[in-house]
């Protein structure tokens, strides 16, 4: 792979100048945000790069685990912040949903599929965990947000079911189904067009790094399936656990939470 010098990266920032020019000429007033975003891109990526370089060099399992926990914490916070209204115990719910879905998928991919030795080899576990957590986070947040808005807009339906003697679980089942579908449809439709419109990021990276496209697609197929499993599990757990918070043991809807 061709090494990039700082000067060469500097040349790339000229591309951002095009965006600035468009923002100014079209009076988009995005210059301030764009400046901050560009600085953050550089700073965050350099920061992460330095940490990863150190962890890769040390190759100790505890550094890897620490990084995984930090990633989990950030993903949990991001999931919760997308909910329009707080749900009691939301951090616990998000942590359980993301943690168990990602841990299971990651363990299967690394242990049974790739068979990485040792398991904490940073080069494999960190980027794969990042992709899995990122997708789990997006789908859990999507599902949770949809569940909340559906319960709010369809609370009459839920209470009509409860009033007919249905259990709380039965009464919210249509909203759970709708939110799971909403969370999983992007993954399924993404799988329909994968590779046809643009090459997935990981595959692009592998090809740029010199891997053969045939090896790169094997990894990509594995990742696409792993992400599908992680998103389905994470959204299912998140929606199931949070739906329970909206209900009481006496089969009542906690309307004040909506």
């Amino acid at each position: 792979m061709i090494a990039l010098s700082h000067f060469q990266v500097g040349l790339a920032t000229l591309l951002i100048a095009i965006v600035f020019a468009i923002s100014i000429l079209q009076a988009l007033r995005l210059e301030r945000d764009l400046l901050i975003a560009s600085l953050r891109t550089v700073a965050q990526l350099y920061f992460v790069g330095l940490i990863l370089a150190a962890v890769f060099a040390a190759a100790h399992w505890y550094w890897v685990v620490l990084i995984l926990f930090v990633m989990m914490g950030v993903a949990t916070q991001a999931t919760v912040s997308r909910l329009e209204r707080p749900v009691p115990g939301q951090y616990g719910i998000a942590a359980i949903a993301l943690g168990s879905s990602s841990a299971f998928t990651l363990a299967y991919v690394l242990g049974a599929v790739v068979r990485v030795q040792p398991w904490y080899t940073p080069q494999y576990i960190i980027p794969i965990a990042g992709m899995i957590l990122g997708n789990a986070m997006t789908s859990a947040a999507l599902a949770g947000d949809r569940l909340q808005s559906d319960l709010r807009s369809r609370s009459g339906e839920v209470e009509a079911m409860l009033a007919l003697g249905f259990s709380g679980r039965e009464a919210v089942q249509p909203m759970i189904r709708a939110s799971l579908r909403a969370a999983m449809i992007p993954t399924v439709s993404g799988m329909m067009t994968v590779g046809l419109v643009q090459l997935p990021g990981m595959m692009t990276g592998q090809i740029l790094a010199g891997s053969s496209p045939l090896l790169a697609i094997k990894y990509q197929v594995m990742i696409v399936f792993a992400l599908a499993a992680a998103t389905a599990l994470a959204s299912l757990l998140f929606v199931r656990l949070s739906a329970r918070r909206y209900l009481t043991p006496a089969h009542q809807l906690r309307r004040y939470l909506l």
Binding site: G156, E157, E159, A160, L162, A163, L164, G165, F166, S167, E170, T248, A250, H251, Q252, L253, Y256
Partner: protein
């Protein structure tokens, strides 16, 4: 009509309520005792008191109308009777038993709530009438579905119609028919006529009165219609800001003999002003 399970052993009155023990002639279906509801604190908003120390009893087979301005707690009170809402203090007894000792799903089939906006689900009217919790093993027969529709003044031909093709008035009557299929002891009506036009109000009122007669149903209704209050008779509970402002018997009463000016004004069809605030501010 097919035979319905009239009463389950679980709901057989195990302990007589205070009313029945004090005077053997009364047979209350609902007894509400010192009921208060406070909505929990949310964000910067403090706890909101919705109902304060409300007590009343509804005799089996009689009626109670709940009236008051919007926000007075009428609907919350109604929803406490089938435990869709949990009181903060106080108790509700149904057939002499504290409702907290009854499975809420069972209670809700005995005390059927009809909501202000009728909720019908995707599918035909038959699908909607057959909608039953998985725990219920009673499967209504075709004849009982048709009977239920006829009882609320609809034609049995509607069974195959899709729910979304019905008018609001028809939908409201279908929700009542659906509630009747569990053979309830009581109908809880939450402003059943508020979404309807005058001809439909008349049809629905007629259906409710007929059901009370034929099924000996106990009726508790939240309403803004003085006409419905007069026709249902029984008793009237006037709520102001969550408190009982007046609790009046309506059977055999003339408008002129009602002492409370606010109740009188309501029964004359004058709109209810939010009098609570003004009254409180007065010395």
């Amino acid at each position: 009509m097919t035979a319905h399970v009239r009463s389950s052993p679980e709901l057989a009155p195990s302990a007589a309520g205070p009313y029945s023990s004090k005077s053997p002639r009364t047979d209350p279906l609902f007894e509400v005792d010192g009921l208060s509801v406070v909505y929990p604190r949310r964000g910067s908003q403090g706890p909101i008191p919705v109902l304060e120390e409300v007590s009343f009893a509804v005799e089996r087979g009689s009626s109670l109308t709940l009236v008051g301005s919007s926000g007075s707690g009428k609907s919350t009170l109604l929803r406490c009777l089938n435990r869709l809402e949990e009181p903060t203090r106080g108790a509700v007894r149904f057939r002499g038993r504290d409702i907290r000792s009854i499975d809420p799903r069972e209670l809700r089939q005995r005390a059927a709530l009809v909501m202000q906006t009728p909720v019908l689900f995707d599918g035909t009217i038959r699908d909607n009438l057959r909608l039953r919790p998985s725990a219920t093993h009673v499967d209504p027969t075709e004849a009982s579905l048709a009977d239920a529709l006829i009882e609320v003044g609809l034609s049995a031909d509607l069974l195959d119609r899709r729910a979304e093709t019905l008018s609001v008035g028809e939908k409201q009557r279908v929700t009542i028919a659906r509630a009747l299929l569990t053979n309830p002891d009581a109908l809880l009506l939450d402003e059943p006529t508020s979404a309807l036009d005058p001809p439909n109000i008349a049809l629905l009122t007629e259906a409710i009165l007929r059901l009370r007669q034929t099924r000996a149903l106990t009726i508790v209704a939240v309403t803004h219609q003085p006409d419905l209050v007069w026709k249902l008779g029984g008793a009237l509970l006037f709520l102001v800001r969550g408190k009982v402002h007046a609790y009046t018997r309506m059977d055999g009463v003339l408008p002129s003999t009602i002492a409370d000016p606010h109740v009188q004004a309501f029964l004359r069809g004058e709109s209810i002003s939010p009098l609570g605030k003004r009254d409180r501010e007065r010395p």
